[in-house]
Symmetry: C2
Subunit: 346 residues, 2 copies
C-alpha cells in the first residue's frame, strides 16, 4: 500500500505555515527573503519526516524546465563501444541532477522526427544528437539547445560538435612505430597509402591517414603499401594481409582498426610470422577485443566514455550562456601500449 505522494500543501499544513513559505524554504530562498530561522527549521523537519519531494512534473509545467535531456542516436545503444558514450553522458548528467531520455532513430528520418517531438513534448532542456560511427549528419531544424556527438553537421550549423581527435590519433600510431625504431617496411591495412584510398563515408579513415602520413612523412619514412578494405571486419583484415604477404615481408602493420588487426594476426600466424618478433602491429579503437588478443594489441583508443561526458558538459555550457557557436571539440585518443609492438627485426 503506497500512500499518496506528499504534496507541498501537506507539508505546509504539517509545518503550520502557508504553501508560499514552505515553497520558499524548500527552494532555498528562505534566506534571502529573511524567513525566520525558527520557521525554516520547522518546515525542513516536517519535510524530512514526511519525505516530501517536489513533483517534478508540476515544477516542469510551472517553470518550463524539466532537468531532463534527450540522447538520440542512430543506433548507438547497441554497441559496447557506444554504450560507453551513454555511460559517460549518464554520469555527467547525474552529477548535474539531470535525467536522460534515450532513443534510437535507426537512420529513419520519420522515426527521428517522432522521437524529437516526443522529447520536446516532454520539455527536455536539451538534446544530444549522437552517431554510432563518426560521420556527418543532417541537423534537424528547430531542435533547440543541442550538441552533436561523434558527428559533424552536414550543412553549416551553429550546434557544437564533439568528436574524437582522429588526426592526432593517426600521428600517435605513427609515433609508436617510430619510437620503436621502425623506419621501413611499414604497411597499412584498411586504407591508404594515398589519402584518396579510403572506404566511402569514413571520416575516421581519412583523418587517421592524414595523421599517419604527416608524422611518417616528417620522419622520412615511406609507407611501403596500403590496401583499402570496403568494410573493417576481421575477414577483410585477413584477406588484405594474406594478399600483402604474397608480395612483401612487412616489418610493421598499421591496421586502421582492431577488427582488421584481428584478421591480420591470423594471417600472420598462418604464415608463421610472430608478433611482435617478426612484425609489429599497431591499431585503432581499443575495442575490448584488443586486450584479449595474443599478444595483446597496442591500440589508439576511441574515448567513448569521455565523448559522452563532454557532450553533456558542452550542452550545459551552451545552455548556460554562450559557448562559441558551431565549435568543434576534439577529444584526445590515448594510446594503449600493450605487447604488439617491438623493435624491427634486423
Amino acid at each position: 500500500m503506497s500512500r499518496r505522494r506528499v504534496t507541498l500543501a501537506d507539508l505546509a499544513e504539517a509545518a503550520g505555515v502557508s504553501r508560499t513559505t514552505a515553497s520558499l524554504v524548500m527552494t532555498g530562498r528562505g534566506r534571502e527573503l529573511r524567513i525566520s530561522h525558527d520557521v525554516e527549521q520547522r518546515v525542513l523537519r516536517a519535510a524530512a519526516e514526511l519525505g516530501y519531494r517536489p513533483n517534478a512534473v508540476s515544477v516542469g509545467l510551472r517553470t518550463g524546465t524539466s532537468r531532463t535531456i534527450g540522447f538520440v542516436s542512430d543506433t548507438v545503444a547497441t554497441s559496447r563501444l557506444a554504450g560507453d558514450m551513454i555511460k559517460g553522458a549518464l554520469e555527467a548528467a547525474r552529477e548535474r541532477g539531470v535525467m536522460l531520455f534515450i532513443g534510437e532513430t535507426e537512420g529513419d528520418p520519420e522515426l527521428e522526427r517522432g522521437l524529437l517531438h516526443a522529447m520536446q513534448d516532454r520539455q527536455v532542456d536539451g538534446l544530444i544528437l549522437a552517431a554510432m560511427y563518426t560521420r556527418t549528419i543532417k541537423v534537424p531544424k528547430d531542435v533547440g539547445p543541442a550538441v552533436l556527438l561523434n558527428a559533424l553537421p552536414r550543412q553549416a550549423s551553429d550546434l557544437p560538435s564533439i568528436v574524437p581527435d582522429e588526426v592526432e590519433a593517426g600521428r600517435s600510431a605513427a609515433r609508436v612505430l617510430l619510437e620503436a625504431g621502425h623506419h621501413d617496411g611499414v604497411h597499412l591495412i584498411g586504407a591508404g597509402p594515398g589519402l584518396r584510398n579510403v572506404p566511402p563515408q569514413s571520416v575516421a579513415a581519412v583523418e587517421r591517414l592524414m595523421g599517419i602520413r604527416e608524422v611518417l612523412g616528417a620522419a622520412g619514412v615511406k609507407i611501403a603499401s596500403g590496401r583499402v578494405c570496403a568494410d573493417w571486419l576481421p575477414e577483410h583484415g585477413l584477406a588484405a594481409t594474406e594478399e600483402l604477404l604474397e608480395r612483401h615481408l612487412p616489418k610493421a602493420l598499421i591496421c586502421l582498426n582492431d577488427r582488421l588487426a584481428l584478421g591480420a594476426y591470423q594471417a600472420l600466424n598462418d604464415a608463421g610470422l610472430s608478433v611482435p618478433g617478426d612484425v609489429s602491429v599497431v591499431s585503432f579503437d581499443d575495442h575490448p577485443l584488443a586486450s584479449w588478443m595474443r599478444p595483446k594489441l597496442t591500440s589508439v583508443a576511441l574515448p567513448h566514455y569521455e565523448l559522452g561526458r563532454r557532450a553533456v558538459e558542452v550542452l550545459f555550457a551552451q545552455m548556460g550562456d554562450k559557448a562559441k557557436p558551431g565549435e568543434v571539440h576534439r577529444v584526445p585518443m590515448p594510446v594503449r601500449h600493450r605487447e604488439s609492438v617491438g623493435p624491427p627485426r634486423p
Copy 2:
C-alpha cells in the same frame, strides 16, 4: 527563431471553438460525445496547420501518467550484450508510444534510491529493474509497477521476472554434442562436474550445469571432468584448458561461456589440437566474439534483445490489469550452430 509552442488555447481560437471542444477532438473522444463532424474537421485542420502537439508535461500533471518508463540497471548500458536489452526495450516502448529514461546504479544503493526517486518524481508509469549478469537482487520497496529484468527477487516479491532460460540452454548444449555423436571424453570448462562446483553468485552457472547434467545423464554419458573458474575470462579458459590437457585428451569441451572458449581455443591450438577435428567445442552467450573466432564458435545465445522486449511487454501487461504476481518468464536461448562442433575423432 523558433516560435512559441502552440497551445490548446491557440488551437481552440484558430478553430473558433472552446478549449474543451478542441481537447475532446484531439483526444479522439469527439466521436462518442457526438461532436459535429463539421467542427471536428475544423479543429483537425487547424491542428495540422498550426502543428499542434499537446504538451506532455501538462497532460502528465493533469492525468498522473507520463507515457514514460524508467530503465534502471546496475551497469547495463555499458556492455554490448546488455545494450541489446536496452534496444529491445526501446523498440517495444516505441511501439507503445512510450519513452525510456535510463539510469545506472553501479551497485550503489544510495545511487539507486536517488535514481528511483528522480524517476518517480517525474511520474514514470513503470520501472524496469535490470541486472547486467543474471542474478538475484534486493527489490526496493514502494517502487510501484515494475519488472525485474535478467534478475530474480532475493526476497519474496510479487514483481514479475524476465530471465533467460539457462536450464534449457544447458540441455541444448548437451544435445548439440549428443547429436554430433559424442558419447565420451566430454569435459567442462568454467564449472562442474558437480552441481556444487560453480563460481559464487552465478545463477547461469548452476542452471546451465543442471541442464547439461540432465541431458548427458539421461543419455548415459558421463562428464569426464570439469573445472571451476573464478571468473569467466579468456585467461581463465586458457589456464583451465592447459591444465586439462596435462591429464586428458578430450573429445569435446563445453565451455560455460564464449570468453572461456576463446582461451580454450588458444590452449588447444598451442597443443596442436584442431577444432573440431580433434575436439569439438560448444559454448554459451553468443558473444559477438563467437563469430569472429576461427573456426566460428557454436554457442547457445543469450537472448538480450528479446529479454528487453519482454520486459516492457510484461510491464504493460501488469499495469494493464493482472499478470500473475511474481511470475517468472523464461526466455528461450537459441543455439547458433557454427563450425566448432563435429563428429568425435575415432
